[in-house]
Symmetry: C2
Subunit: 254 residues, 2 copies
DNA sequence: GTGCAACAAAGTGCATGCAATTGAGGCGCT
DNA sequence: AGCGCCTCAATTGCATGCACTTTGTTGCAC
């Protein structure tokens, strides 16, 4: 994979791209938890650029759904609702089914080798931190997508995979061995064999199991997103009452 | 459709959002053809903002794949390759199948009414310009997606639909009645009936027919993208020769 | 007439500055 | 102590300015 299609669509001038990539990694490795503040100045200072650039990067990340931009407020790492998490996984399943459908029986030797190497890396990182293994598992799926040679598909799969990663860090507590490495191997095997329907089914059940294993129940109460929990009560008679409520909650959670 | 989820993820501060929406519309209505230049100054002047904002808007649009950003060069409306167009349609088919799967049998009276109203509007615009009917057809699909209440799905369907619109303006010459209104009506009927598999099949064939009807053959020669046509010849002994060629072509086409 | 090189115009890349808005701490009042 | 208010620091929103890159053009040599 030559670094040819480097910065084609977005991530224009590199500086922005560097910041985007760095933040993405930090987010999916949970170095930045959902809700973490991302002030433009700090970012700029940290990466040696001006606020303008940091701002631009935040804009891109917001377009990808990884950060949330609120007018006149500090940007934060996105905090998707449980429903959004489930939606993201549903979309991801469809997209990745498409990926493996296109790929079944069409992988070159080199591609298979690359995939195996990646899974090996996943295997050998089992002792390491959860963060790294989650990232590697996600990157396996992105690597797969990149083999379709469809930039659009790669972009969508990447985005939605990152989003799922993010939600995993929110809604799954004891996330040991999220993404079964054995399932990855099975997928590779089926791809090589060229059994399209089989590999689509494999991918489907793989992702679905990750989703259902991780996204345990709608979490009726359980700390954190009190604001989101209260959101449904907002609809009835105007927002002001909820704003007040929100203030109270805010004060209590801190 | 209450304007509730106005500017949540991106399109932050409105001014940027306004420009984005305006440009999107201009692009899908083919007021701006693929390859059209989008200088930051002109945009800023036209919309009464500074280059900074125009630039930001271009960044967002680039992230959506509607415009192409090249370092130190004027941004242009994207010119997707034929393959990219086909890829976009493939993705779109999967996403919209998901949409109707989620929607089958779950539409409220009001939603059905809204859909019918929209299709009526499509019908009554048959005499008008192609641009408007193409836009309306696209918006039907987006309207459908928005009824899933899944912001992520809405975003992806919108994006990919816009992209498809863009490619339609590139690769389909005599585009009369692209998106069969009768097919839209059939989809609504099947949705109301709650026949999931049926409506998925309908949507699939609907989009597929649009794609195959529009994306006629890989267009071996046929004007326009001379540079892209020449691209394959570049690989052999370095880029410089092609750069020269490009210059020649450039000079001749103008 | 053709090719080439230097120049001028236009446009982007980025930083900085100023106005506007928000959140928080401090203050007095009850 | 608890509650509300007010002021101020922190932070974003946006425009402008300067440096650098690209592009089109003019002039010169062959």
């Amino acid at each position: 994979m030559a670094p040819r299609a480097a910065a084609k669509t977005a991530e224009s001038s590199d500086k922005v791209g560097v910041i985007c990539r760095a933040l993405r990694r930090a987010i999916i490795e949970q170095a930045l938890e959902p809700g973490a503040k991302l002030p433009e100045d700090s970012l700029g200072e940290r990466f040696g650029v001006s606020r303008t650039i940091a701002r631009h990067a935040l804009g891109q990340l917001a377009a990808e759904g990884l950060v949330e931009l609120r007018r006149n407020r500090i940007a934060v790492v996105a905090t998707p609702s449980w429903q959004e998490a489930r939606d993201a996984f549903d979309i991801r399943i469809e997209l990745e089914r498409l990926v493996v459908r296109q790929l079944a029986g069409k992988l070159t030797k080199a591609q298979v080798a690359a995939l195996n190497a990646h899974v090996d890396a996943e295997d050998s990182s089992r002792g390491g931190s959860d963060a790294v293994s989650i990232r590697l598992a996600t990157e396996f799926h992105i690597l797969l997508a990149s083999m379709t040679n469809s930039p659009i598909l790669v972009r969508y799969v990447s985005e939605v995979a990152y989003r799922c990663c993010l939600t995993l860090s929110l809604y799954s507590r004891p996330h040991s061995s999220e993404c079964g490495v054995t399932e990855h191997r099975a997928i590779i095997a089926a791809l090589v064999k060229g059994d399209g329907p089989k590999v689509m089914e494999l991918m489907h059940s793989h992702l679905d199991s990750v989703a259902t294993r991780a996204l345990v129940a709608p979490t009726p109460q359980r700390g954190r997103d009190l604001l989101d929990i209260l959101a449904p009560y907002a609809e009835e008679d105007g927002a002001d009452r909820v704003v007040k409520l929100a203030k109270v909650v805010r004060g209590r959670t801190r």
